[in-house]
Symmetry: C2
Subunit: 547 residues, 2 copies
């Protein structure tokens, strides 16, 4: 016997159908790559997405075919997304910050047949055009005028395609198990691996993120996704905003403090989402210009740990509430958010801050566990580190083409590669990446925790901690510091700064001043590169033991 | 090619698993049927539900078997729900307000094998015990002490079963397409028909209702579901509260103003949901006792149209925001909610009120259309009446055992039997039941609209409008008025009261004063019975025409 409710497959075309039917006049405002602010509506995006779908069908695109985008957040990018997904093709978001050889690898691995690109990225594609044989067409997100400057033989004009094709024709109507999106992990070890989202997983992620304790979006919100659509689906905002009827403000290519601030104020933005560096730029800009935030109420911050100074800055200087979030490409991406429980909401603001700075708790649809190296579950005591594993309907089951083999454990959990704690309130805190955590005398030391404290030193522009080989303890921490321009510093003053803030045995054995701390394509510290640069380094403490 | 995310069936056992894992200490407080307030937690409910599952399995209950509940909202009722659904059996909620012969029909139609009952309803079951042959066991929601007064041979004790069985054993792990719940429509025409919810439909309904623009629940909320679990699943609150980690306050059998007020205040309730009559009783009690509402922030009101005086009372006297909602057993039940869009939020409070009093707009997952008798789509102009049809993953596809045959139209929509308007903001307003709407000279007249206005007359205790045969116009409206105790009234003064508030041709041809306006099992006006009582009535205007 089966339940007798309607058969209504969870496919993402229905999200845009809903936006058109119930929020058709709601605006989508973009800072275009060409420069001017352009305005459209969900109804217009719906029609243009249908026209694009017909253009793709005319080019022979079928269900399951991969069609890529290499683009900033704009209304056109949304049209391309829904145009691709609406006919069952797979929208493959390419990260333009990747090195050219990584892009080549990913495009070939995905066998992309078409790439939509912004004008900005035409030179990248021109440089690799002869290395991506599966790509039949490149469509430039521009009008005929914009195409004049495009130096790429055979490139097609987005606006011309939209004009040439009508809006009628089949859309949606397929199984929810079909793939909808493809996004490759940044791949700090080995080749990038593809996460193949289904319509079902995207739709469920959308419903979950609409929850009050998750993203909590409303039709009354105006949302600025600074986080790019190529960075883990802009944390679902290109689905949840039309899903709820929020006004969308797309920042295009300009993510600096002044440009973001201008959009926040002129468009009446109430909600925004970005990585910490964007918010740091905004706060710096606001302080320099004595700017205000007159409509912004909430920001969601993820991608890396949020410095306490950012939370305090938003809260105390601008009255904006900060929600810390954690997720990854493999979790669609939202895994946890640090919205308060009743117990935490009852605490004073300083006590609450300790939880705001954690990565948060899982919504219904996400389950987490902590395990040790032997696969034993660890206590949720807020202190014990363990491997963080995750399970849920929008968590990866296997990578595209089976890369990496079986990636779920016997209970069906995916190993995030993060090391974390879970506390009695259900709050998770990332303490390190599993490959970065320092194993000293059988105990684990969190590099992130030391880095976050060291970055609070007024002379530090950036800081990183890595493990260095030690004959007695296996590994001991080394602190690398990039000083602010014009500053000088000593090992002693940085070690003194850490004293009392971390356990004594966590104290780095050395402090090394470096010219720069390298960042990867998603803005995180590239520890692989740091370890490579430091491969000949020997700890002073190791020398003394061996001496 | 399929998407490669995890296979994670949407089954409701996972809702309680989530509550246990992440909100295990969160309280569930009940006014027990025995009298005292009792306190438990989601973790304890989880364990006891598992013990009950094992008790049911020991009685031979298998997947798909129907197990009924005849019970008020209490923690034990929740344990019974999850104990039944957690092993794939079907939880059939019985409405104790039905007449005995309707209960007999429904129990036999469902072939219930077991009935959980409150002490309160033992006499009902004793009265029909020899007419429900499929029922093998009756389990009384009581402890051994409570059983002493139970006069029902063979009745089992709930607490004894919980004690006798351990918490270990299989739970969940089946397909999301399995049935989870069964609820019969009140059936004002023909026999009651069963709606067979699936795990998938219940889970999706839960996720949708957790949205900020829907029920908008948070872990920081304390929720009092006055709406019974036997009334369309308590509008999903028995799923969404554990799903989000809200504290639950269950009112048991006492739904009067004083009892509800006591719980609101002593338990710190922030959110509640009920039909208008409950809120009217509460407001009357508050005014009589000069009571206050110190923690309540929001109430959701559904089941029938909300009188303006209730919205104003909550808003202006107590600072509580009211959300009007519409739904039906066939929609799980939430279909629309009148949360504001950005355009409406920008209006002044009096202008907003016009929308607050409508039934609202559909969330993602619900689609609506208006049709005329010929199946043509009607405009969303806020004025044109039409048949309201609905589609979505938690809307009925067919009734249990195929009753009523094919109930979806060619586009897959279900006809709600309501007549409604849709306006340019996407707000739906019910104007009538299709079988009650008056067809006068080919045009439709809304009986509900006239009733709502007439009920605003200070002398009226209740009012109803029905159509009476007319030789020229086919039907003309008659207003029936039940006066407040001690009042007397005239036809002329009621017609004068309506003047200017409705179109002239809507003016009732007669006003009839009656001793009572009969209500059905769900508290709505029983127009079928009124029409029966009025079958010999002849319009004065009809007499004059025929004379």
């Amino acid at each position: 016997m089966l339940g007798l409710m309607q058969d209504w497959p969870l496919t993402v075309d229905k999200v845009l159908d809903h936006a058109k039917a119930w929020h058709g006049d709601r605006e989508v405002v973009s800072r275009s790559v060409e420069g001017p602010i352009v305005r459209t509506t969900y109804a217009a995006i719906h029609e243009r997405a249908h026209r694009l779908s017909n253009a793709l069908k005319a080019m022979g695109i079928k269900q399951g075919d991969r069609v890529a985008t290499l683009a900033w957040n704009t209304g056109r990018h949304i049209e391309a997304w829904y145009g691709i997904m609406g006919i069952g093709a797979v929208c493959h978001t390419l990260n333009p910050r990747l090195f050219a050889d990584q892009l080549v690898y990913i495009i070939n691995h995905a066998e992309d047949r078409i790439i939509f690109t912004d004008l900005t990225f035409v030179p990248i594609l021109k440089g690799i055009a002869d290395k991506i044989p599966t790509v039949e067409h490149i469509i430039v997100l521009a009008d005929a005028d914009g195409m004049k400057g495009v130096d790429l033989p055979g490139a097609l004009c987005f606006e011309t395609l939209v004009e040439q094709h009508g809006p009628e024709g089949d859309w949606g109507g397929f199984a929810e198990t079909l793939p909808a999106g493809l996004c490759y992990t940044s791949g700090t070890t080995g080749n990038p691996k593809g996460v193949l989202y289904s319509h079902r997983s995207n739709f469920l992620h959308t419903l979950v993120t609409m929850g009050t304790d998750v993203m909590g979006l409303s039709a009354t919100d105006t949302v600025l996704p600074v986080v790019p659509m190529f960075h883990a689906n802009a944390w679902g905002l290109a689905f949840s905003c039309p899903g709820v009827g929020a006004k969308l403000v797309m920042p295009g290519a300009k993510l600096d403090g002044a440009s973001v601030h201008e959009l926040l104020e002129t468009e009446g933005v109430t909600f925004s989402a970005a990585v910490p560096t964007v918010w740091q730029m905004l706060l710096t800009h606001l302080r320099e210009t004595k700017g205000t935030l007159s409509t912004l109420k909430r920001v969601v911050i993820g991608g890396s740990a949020v410095p306490e100074a950012i939370v305090r800055g938003f809260r105390d200087e601008y009255g904006v509430s900060v929600t810390h979030a954690w997720g990854m490409t493999e979790t669609s991406p939202l895994g946890t958010l640090a919205n308060p429980t009743a117990a935490i909401a009852a605490m004073d603001s300083e006590a609450q801050l300790r939880f705001t700075l954690k990565q948060g708790r899982p919504p219904l649809g996400i389950d987490l566990k902590l395990e040790d190296d032997a696969g034993k579950r660890l206590p949720h005591d807020g202190a014990t580190f363990g491997k963080l594993k995750v399970k849920g309907p929008f968590v990866v089951g296997q990578y595209f083409r089976g890369d990496g083999g079986e990636i779920l454990d016997a209970e069906g959990f995916f190993d995030t590669g993060d090391v974390a704690t879970l506390d009695g309130h259900g709050y998770m805190q990332i303490t390190d990446r599993a490959k970065d955590v320092i194993k000293s005398g059988g105990e684990w030391i969190s590099t992130i925790e030391i880095e976050n404290i060291a970055m609070g030193h007024e002379k530090a522009a950036n800081a990183a901690v890595i493990g260095a080989a030690h004959p007695k303890w296996d590994e001991r921490p080394v602190l690398l510091v990039q000083l602010r321009p014009g500053q000088s510093g000593t090992k002693e003053e940085f070690l003194a700064f850490l004293e009392g803030k971390i356990a004594k045995w966590w104290t780095p054995d050395d402090v090394v001043f470096v010219e720069d701390i390298p960042l990867g394509a998603t803005g995180k510290i590239d520890k692989k590169l740091i370890r490579e640069r430091m491969k000949d380094y020997v700890l002073p403490t190791a020398k003394s033991v061996s001496a």
